[in-house]
Symmetry: C2
Subunit: 200 residues, 2 copies
């Protein structure tokens, strides 16, 4: 996993992604334009247009960049062969979100809410989500094989964990209650113990 992470992204493209991140933090999604991204970019605006025809195309690339960032973080943090520890690590990283910045989380919630209207976004979010489901489900599958977990449906467990992650993140962005994430962490732990862990 992750061997091709970022391999197709040039230095310029990475700089454009970083400019997009800053622009989203500054002004959210609704007012985001190619110009506002260019304003955050050190080099010429024409370079942005050279790589991305439209704002949509750029944001699809940005969602892919976020997924790569997540996968890199997983690879860096996850040094365990134990499926339960590995599952814990994935949940921790998922709950902490792609970035700590609250403005960015707000912008991402907004972008996500546009997905039903914009097919390219919808496909990009679905592709990222399928990746997360597969990562979680593979870990659950490993645990079933080693006997650490019961014979549950791995994809379904992944879906349920992601329901809790998404709910916690959207509620904490909306209501600014940081306890929600900590409570959800414990609820997921309870779910893993009561539903997955063999012998508990």
């Amino acid at each position: 996993m992750g061997d091709d992470t970022g391999s197709e992204r040039s230095e310029t493209q990475t700089a454009i992604m970083e400019a997009t991140y800053r622009a989203l933090c500054e002004q959210g999604y609704a007012d985001l334009t190619m110009q506002s991204i260019a304003d955050e970019f050190e080099k010429s605006k024409s370079l942005i247009h050279y790589h991305y025809d439209t704002k949509e195309e750029l944001l699809v690339a940005f969602l892919d960049y976020l997924l790569d960032g997540f996968l890199a973080k997983v690879e860096e943090t996850d040094d365990s062969d134990d499926p339960r520890e590995r599952l814990d690590t994935l949940v921790d990283i998922l709950l902490s979100g792609p970035e700590k910045s609250e403005d960015f989380q707000v912008a991402m919630l907004e972008l996500r809410s546009q997905a039903p209207y914009v097919e390219a976004y919808r496909e990009a979010f679905a592709a990222n989500d399928a990746h997360l489901v597969a990562l979680l489900a593979d870990t659950v599958r490993d645990g079933i094989e080693t006997g650490a977990f019961r014979d549950v449906d791995p994809e379904r467990v992944a879906d349920t964990i992601l329901v809790m992650v998404d709910g916690a993140r959207s509620r904490s962005v909306l209501f600014g209650d940081s306890d929600t994430v900590a409570h959800t962490r414990e609820a997921i732990d309870g779910y893993v113990r009561s539903h997955l862990v063999a012998g508990e």
Copy 2:
């Protein structure tokens, strides 16, 4: 609970709320204007302006109208004194959402994503949420008193249930996977059994 539900809403105001519902289904939030609501309203546009100065003010009233609809549904459905049955009923109604229309759920997700930018929306969503937390927590509290539930933190249980409800609804809107809601219903049931129910 619910004695004052809708008591302050005139027939005209209710008709404006229904027009707002149709307009949101038709075009979502981003393109919603007082004019597009007026287009769905049988009477004169000036009547809308007489009751609501701005689109924001109208949508805050609309969120209150949705909460009243939810409370009316709870009152109509909930005929049990048993705290666990009552909790089940609340979860069922919450998961089924205010309206079945998918277009409407999409529009609500969009409106919700604007809450961090618009204080009036944020306050209205927070007020509705506080109402839901109180309803759930009161039911849990009743269950603790009767001995049906363990001595848990009622508000925290309410928060965790709402995390799962919000996550399931946003994921099912975004990915169109109807299994998510059914799976989440079972996950909440598992949570209630393992975390709340005494003797299980």
